[in-house]
Structure formats: C-alpha cells, structure tokens
Symmetry: C2
C-alpha cells in the first residue's frame, strides 16, 4: 500500500495515518496481545490508558524509519507496541507525580484506580517491554532501549529538581526535554532503522532525526500549555506554571520582563498559585515580550535540523511521511 | 580466601560474610561506581537507601552460586550490584505504596525527599540496572533479569489486588510471594551459576534453590511481623494487618478460628484499624491456633526443598555457605 502512487503524493497527516494503517493496526494487535498479565487489574488499567486516543506517534516513527529502507517481516511491529508501552508507563507515573485528574479529556488511571495501581502498572508495562525486547536477542536494540529508559528516568528526576526553580536556564530546560522526551523518539527511529537494515551511519541519521523531532515536539507541547484551545488539549491552560513547572515561554519571559514583573512572576512560581486573572496577565506579558513566538521559533529550528538528516535518503513514501510528521509536530492545535 | 581450610569449617553467617568479604566489598564498589547520574538527587536518595544496612543477601547468593562452580573474573560482581539495584528499586516503590516512614530503623527516602523522588529514583535504579545488564551482551542473563522484573511488578499488582481481601487463599498468597520475592532470589542464583560456567541443568538446580530460599525468606519475614522484637525489626509489630495485608499466619487463623472470631477478624482487616489491645488479642488467637508455628513449618519446608537441589554438588566452601544462608533465612530474629 505504501508503494501506491496516491500515497507518494500525500501531504497531510491523515493520509500518512491512512497509508500506514495496516502496520498501525498490527501494532494495536501486538499491544493487545501483550497485555496478558496474571493480574486482571494490569490489563484493565493499561487498556484504559492505551485506548484513550494516543496518536501512536512513536510506533509510527518506528514503522516509517524501517520503511525508509526496506519492508521487513511484520513481526518487527512488536517493537512498535513496546515503544508505546514504555511511553505509556511514563504517562502513568507522570499522572501520579502531577496529581493529574484528566488526560486526553478522560479521567486519568490514578483518578479511577488510585495512585498505587498507576505506579505498579507503570512498572509492569515498562518491565514487560524490557522483557519482550530481551526476548528478541538483538544487543543493539536492547542497549538502545535500556539506555533510553535510563535517560527518561533521569530526565524525570532532573525535572523534579527543576520544579519551582525560577532561575532554571534554557540549557538546563533543554537537557530535561532531551532526556524525558527526545531520547525515546530518537530511539524509536533508530530501532526502526536497524530493523530496516540501515547502515550504522544511516541509523545515526535517523537517531538525530528523531532527537530533533522529539525536542521540537516537547517544545511545541510546552508552548501549547500557554496557548492551546482548552477543549482540544483536554486539560486546563496554564497547568505547568500552576505546578511550578518552568518551560521555555516562561524562561524567556523571566529574562525579558522588568525587574518588578520578574519578582512578581517568581513569587507566583514559588507559591504554585496562579488564578485565571493572573494567568491572563502572564499571557499578556508573554505576548508583549514575544515569549510564545520565541518558543515556536526554537521548536521550528529543531524541525529544520531534523530535515537535514533526511536529505541523503532517496525519495519514497516513508521519507515523505517523515517530513509530514515533522511539520505536524509543531503545527498541532495552534 | 574462600579456599582456606578455616572457611571450609565455617558454620555461622558471620563466617560466611567474613569469607566472602572481598567479593562483597567489590559489589559495594560497583554500587558506588554506578550511582553516577547527572541528577545529584538520584545519587543522594539511592545512596540513602543503599547505605541503610541492607544485608546484600541477593549479591551474596549470586557470588556463592558462581563460586560453587568456578572463580570467574571479578568483573562479574557488577551483576551483584545490579540485583541489589533492582531490589532497592522495589523497596523505594514499596515504601511509597505502604506510606512507610521507617525502614531498617531509619527514615524512609519518601519521608525525607518525598514520594515523587522515591518513585523516580526507583525508576532510575531499575532502568540503570537493565541498561548495565544489556551492556554485558549476554542474552540468557538479559532474559532472566527482565523476566524477573516483569514478574516482580506483576506480584506487586497481585498484592495490591489482594489487599483487604480476607478470603485470600494460601495458594494465591504463595503466588504473590513467588512473584514479588522468590523470583529475584532465584534469578540471582541462576545468574551466578551462569557466570560460574554451570551446565543448563545446574543452572536450573540453582534457580530452584533460590526460588525455595526466596519463598522461605518471605514467609519468615511475614511471620516476623507477628512475632519479631520491635527494635530488631526496625518497625512496629502488626504492620501488615493494620494495612490490610493478608499473610500466611492470618490466612491460617481465619480458617482455624470460630465463626464469631472470623467475623471480628474480617471487620478488623477491612477497617484497617487494629489498636495494640486488638493486636494482642489476634496474637493470642494465633498462638492458640498454632498459626505462627504453621507459618514457620511452611517456611522450613521450603528450606528443606532447597537443600535437595544442593545435594549433587561437590562439597566446597560455597556449598557450605549456601546451606548456612538457607538456615539463616528462617532463623532471623526469632
């Protein structure tokens, strides 16, 4: 299907989803197949979050990265389900840490089954993924995924330490984004490339591509918290600052605003109390200082960097799709 | 040192610790070496719990299981540190789930640095262990450890589901014990055997040995909660029933006691409220019905089973030490 002339001319995310639907459906089948624990609660909780409308961006990137090179046996799609397991494990733990009640417009697992179930099912999904990856007997894939998981855990701790620290620098912020988000996207692309039979150089190009895409994705996501349509995002605006989470628009604003404004902002960050009127004031300050435009431009820089790593590959539907996914990363809901 | 005639005649745990001190010291060095995260909080929290007087039973069993066969390069002791990392990760998450304030007589990590840090540092220790195991490029060890981690997570969920369920059967209880405790002990022994160059049959014998030892260990530990010297255990008596956790002495008592007593006990389990006087009453009932003696005898059965799997091995200091560790498992603080 991906060889169809109509697919080659595609230019929207909908067409990408459509073109790779058979592979994505197989990923769904693998997800279902491997939610087979002795503990029914694991299957219930995992199914709740895995069926809640996640876009399967990481499995899609893994598929596209493999298809860029070859058409391997569909067994490789197990790996697509496993990167989604790992991602989902982090969401379950994140929701506990953030005390989140809503995700993608639905009640969070921790809200329905409690924090304990969310922590443990997160542990299970993560270890189930690692066990299935180990069963494939591929050292490279093992090491890439285990290293990604370690860095993600490290990123979460760095983020915890950065909470309510108004002096967080852009460099520190970008390190957190790299560890907690970009590394897993990069790993998904590299694993896809390995399965597709790519050379070591090509694997590295896909890793860098995924890294830049992941950075752009998180930057755009953090920016959305200050600008998204509430209903589309499925959560309230300004959640990050209310939880003391310092992201790029706020880092920019803290540097650009007046000393008085900075003092006021720091007080708001430290107190974790920002009412709707105060949020409006902050949004106004961000507009005035160009903080949101700055965050967008930084995200776009990563997208531009990601394009460079695709240049050398021959034109094919997978390459076209990777470019479309890139553009989609910074144009969601804005 | 382990070949010394004095070691061969050893008959106490103190002598075992002493005889294998050089290897255990190397495990400590490896633990310290691999607490090298970018996030200082990880190193601080992990060091707090890793330095709190844990007995390193799992690394010791791994060492003894290797030494039963050969004297491999000391690099293998990295694996001793990694089984301790995995064990410690579960302790950090357990303390969050149990809302525990005290472990081994010290404040828990979650009490000092909060639940968030404990969850995330647990995630880190676990993923750091898996990443280092992956770096060894040994498929067998990879699979054993990943499978152990998956089963441990599953066991924790089974335990969560069994909480406050007075109808929990002994079979269900033993499954939880197997998953949450025995599998990692079994894996530690099997990994040791692999490193020592054991045959597949010998590896399986060591796995069964560790499994039985782990079962005995947890049964004895659960029994201690109803009988231990408070100061020695470093926590209060009767913690399990106060948290709705059903263990073997209570399962026995629920079956052996009168209908009226059963009704009262179930009410106590469901309400999570047991004052000191009520605990005394429960302990009296357990003494009368022989519930503690029953739990002890079940633990001893596992120890006896573990001995069978050592019979075929030639006598050497490691074998002698494994037998001493077995006996120690059911004779702690009683």
């Amino acid at each position: 299907m991906a060889n169809d002339p109509a697919v080659k001319a595609m230019d929207s995310m909908e067409e990408v989803w459509e073109a790779f639907r058979p592979e994505l459906n197989e990923v769904e089948a693998q997800i279902e197949k491997h939610l087979n624990s002795h503990a029914p609660l694991i299957n219930t909780v995992a199914d709740h979050i895995l069926s809640s409308g996640g876009k399967r961006i990481r499995p899609l990137l893994l598929i596209l990265s493999a298809r860029l090179f070859s058409y391997p046996e569909k067994e490789f799609l197990l790996l697509g389900s496993l990167v989604e397991f790992i991602h989902t494990a982090t969401l379950l733990h994140d929701d506990v840490l953030d005390e989140a009640d809503i995700r993608r417009g639905e009640k969070t697992a921790r809200r329905v089954w409690g924090n304990h179930a969310s922590i443990l099912v997160g542990d299970y999904l993560y270890s189930q993924a690692m066990a299935l990856i180990a069963s494939l007997h591929n050292h490279d894939i093992n090491e890439i995924m285990a290293d990604a998981c370690r860095k993600m855990a490290e990123g979460e701790v760095l983020q915890l330490c950065a909470n309510s620290q108004p002096d967080l620098t852009e460099t520190d912020y970008l390190k957190i984004v790299e560890y907690k988000t970009a590394i897993l996207v990069a790993a998904s692309c590299k694993v896809g490339a390995i399965i597709g039979g790519a050379s070591v150089e090509e694997q590295m190009a896909l890793y860098r591509f995924g890294y830049n895409l992941g950075m752009a994705f998180q930057l755009a996501d953090d920016r959305l918290d200050y600008s998204a349509d509430h209903a589309k995002l499925g959560k309230s605006l300004g959640q990050d600052i209310r939880q003391g989470m310092i992201t790029l628009p706020l880092i920019h604003l803290l540097q650009a605003c007046s000393a008085d404004e900075q003092t006021w902002l720091k007080e708001k960050i430290l107190s974790h109390s920002v009412d709707d009127q105060e949020l409006e004031r902050i949004l106004g300050m961000m507009r005035k200082q160009g903080s949101l435009a700055y965050a967008t431009s930084r995200a776009r820089e990563y997208i531009e960097a990601s394009a460079l790593d695709l240049v050398s590959f021959p034109e094919n539907p997978a390459k076209r799709s990777l470019a479309i996914v890139s553009a989609y990363m910074v144009n969601r809901d804005q």
